[in-house]
Symmetry: C2
Subunit: 457 residues, 2 copies
């Protein structure tokens, strides 16, 4: 086996695969720090002819203080043949109404492909295929996904690529949420998000007074806040200006108190699977603030076993904690109107919920259910102007993954376009973005935070 592996490593075409599985020096990702500019360099904004988003996006980027590169300077130098680097490429592809028009993508991206800075960004803007005027346009718009996902796998050096679908029925909230999305995607907040399709619709979105405090005045409940991703999330939400209600089971009380004290949050000890938990939570929220603007269902457990060896408790606990208890809480908080218009619900799914996983029939079922919850609750709450989204983390460095044997862990870390595992803060930043009042016109999305993992369905 070892010899076979050695020849694999040394084979020409093998190197590309090995690079992903065992790269010794993965790129250092640009991450967000308060006060820093969104991007360390200029944005090149391109457009297919007839694009409807070029003008509003140009305005948004300029208002956000980003430097737009003059397209005349984004051409190869006649002496060196090199195109000057951009920190981001943003391309309005909404003008492409037929597959023959896809050629415009090539014309824009081919000369820029090697002129993007490390940890740079590629964002393609499109129209949701379901909103397209005819089959030719819908086909061409759907084709964009193949381009962005390939760019994410190809460009390397920490560069991410996304497709952002913007509704044709844009209202003021659409532009606010598009600004929130561009600020998130262009900044280091989205360091570990790549290869995603994000839909910005209409709804109720409110721009913050200060984009450095996008959650100012917002009451945010986070479950499972004592440790791991939940603790990182509580910190990011507090940094972004939220009033955080940090909830966890009584057994994690000490850790929870420590997180809550650190960030000035309220600690809430509650076992969410208890029969009276929804009522007790609703009463707490009603008494404390009279409302909760954002509910983040971060609490989740694993109880892995292959199905033949799994006892019923393992099945029941995982389904109950990860899915059923969250449904009971949503339903009661909604029934008592504790989540106001413009509120947000954010769930946590998983790659296992998308692709399934060996030894995780219970977990994957619960996490696929979270996707179902987003898909079904988002349209049901449109009238009430409450958004529902989820994140789906990939390989994230936590206490759980630290226990995986070294080499399996290394493989898991490498099997993505960024050649490394993500950090809890990467998931937290993505949840925070979905929790912003400015993101209210984004609903029904499941956004993977996986470095564009190779794994999927």
């Amino acid at each position: 086996m070892s010899d076979r592996y050695a020849s694999f490593v040394q084979s020409g075409a093998g190197r590309a695969l090995v690079k992903r599985l065992g790269l010794p020096d993965p790129p250092r990702l640009r991450r967000y720090a308060p006060g820093e500019p969104i991007l360390p360099g200029p944005v090149l904004l391109g457009s297919a002819s007839g694009g409807r988003l070029t003008e509003p996006v140009g305005r948004i980027l300029a208002a956000a203080g980003l430097a737009l590169r003059d397209p005349a300077t984004a051409v190869p130098d006649p002496t060196t043949g090199r195109t000057p680097d951009s920190a981001a490429l943003v391309y309005d592809a909404t003008g492409i109404t037929d597959s023959t028009g896809l050629r415009q993508l090539y014309d824009f991206f081919h000369p820029q492909a090697r002129a993007v800075q490390p940890s740079g960004r590629v964002i393609v803007l499109g129209t949701p295929p379901a909103e397209c005027a005819g089959t030719r346009e819908a086909t061409a718009q759907r084709a964009l996904e193949g381009l962005t996902r390939s760019i994410g796998k190809e460009f390397g050096r920490g560069i991410t690529a996304q497709l952002v679908h913007v509704t044709r029925e844009a209202d003021e909230s659409t532009w606010t949420s598009l600004e929130a999305t561009l600020r998130f995607l262009l900044s280091g907040r989205s360091a570990y998000v790549s290869g995603q399709v994000i839909r910005v619709g209409a709804g109720q979105a409110t721009a913050p007074v200060d984009w450095e405090r996008p959650l100012d005045g917002q009451v945010v409940l986070v479950t499972g806040a004592a440790r791991g991703i939940g603790a990182a999330l509580a910190r990011v939400l507090a940094r972004d200006g939220a009033t955080v209600l940090a909830l966890d089971v009584p057994a994690a009380g000490d850790e929870l108190a420590s997180v809550a004290n650190e960030i000035g949050a309220s600690a809430v000890q509650l076992d969410l699977t208890a029969a009276d938990a929804p009522t007790r939570l609703a009463e707490y929220l009603a008494g404390r603030h009279g409302r909760v603007d954002v509910v983040v269902h971060n609490a989740g457990i694993t109880r892995d076993k292959t199905l033949g060896r799994m006892d019923a408790d393992r099945w029941n606990q995982v389904i109950d904690v990860n899915l059923s208890s969250q449904e009971r809480i949503n339903d009661l908080l909604l029934e008592r109107e504790l989540i106001p218009a413009g509120g947000r619900i954010v769930g946590v799914s998983s790659i296992a919920g998308i692709a399934g996983n060996r030894g995780q029939t219970n977990y994957a079922t619960s996490k696929a259910g979270v996707i179902g919850l987003v898909d079904s609750l988002a349209p049901a709450l449109r009238e009430r102007r409450i958004s529902v989204n989820a994140v789906a983390p990939g390989f994230i460095e936590t206490r759980l993954t630290a226990r995986i044997p070294l080499v399996v862990r290394e493989a898991g870390r490498r099997m993505n376009s960024l050649a490394q595992g993500g950090l809890p803060v990467d998931v937290a930043e993505t949840i925070s973005w979905l929790a912003w009042p400015a993101s209210g016109a984004i609903s029904g999305n499941v956004v993977r935070v996986c470095g564009q993992s190779l794994l999927g369905a």
Copy 2:
């Protein structure tokens, strides 16, 4: 690197991953041969309480000559503790209307998990979440996907697992197409299809006189028929009773003639990218049979290069052959009404079209476009009762893949639940099933033929 790999191979939990990447003895898959029974053993049919499909599916399975196991015999032997093997587990989950009801899945599958024969089948029947009565039901139905995808990854030994969504507005055509789907999925025809979600709707489906000749009397056009998957497809379609029109470029004329002669097909030499190709093809079809019941757009090319090194010809050719020319042909054949009511269009996408791929921005864009074509054309043609679907092959053993360096090829072969590459016949069988008149109520599906590849989006 070698030592690290060796410790990887020898580590406890590492073995599971290695098993997939380098298994020395992948299971021998059961494949279809005319005259053989659909399954080599009995089917165990289970049901969640209140399931609406148990009765019709029981009738379909009995009519297809399958032996239904008495549930009383599908329990552990009191002496040995072993449950007798079934060749297939079929479970009607449509009665699950809340996540708490998911427990019924555990109750059925847990005792059967180690009692499925090699190359056996697991099929879960559900309701499309979009048709569910409320968010609780939609959530629970969506959760089924996590279960079937995990079972596909967990059961091993050539066992496949699928989720089949059956419309609530079932008509006679729905039952015919459900029968076609169950016959396909239970038989060796679906050897390399696993982890899929297949939607059976309403429409126009016609059961064959003889299920061994499901394409009897049907005129089927296959492009790219001279070699590889296309040649295998021409053979399978002819075996299934079709009148095959085998098309390829003039340069492949000799190979095309050889395939056509072998199966009694008509050879059609035509460059589909030529400006007059749609007209010439329409005239040929009008003159020959006055119609074409099925069009299979199998012709496709790759011209791999990273985007920065790709010349414009590579981009244009791939988009034109794989996407634009197919749109021009569809549109003209539909305009001239050469595809009758009940007709079928089948395209070929790719995992690259789903997940993107390094060095394939052109190919992935074209193949994502094929998914867009299916998504948009299927509803547009519902009124005319013409179905539109596609297959998305994974790692298939062809002349192209034979050129990949050994160890990379081995990795590609192993990174799926069946631990091996598929054969061209596996793709051909899947396309043929979608081409059957009995499958007419299946539309808007993209079915992967990838052995449940780990790769995805």
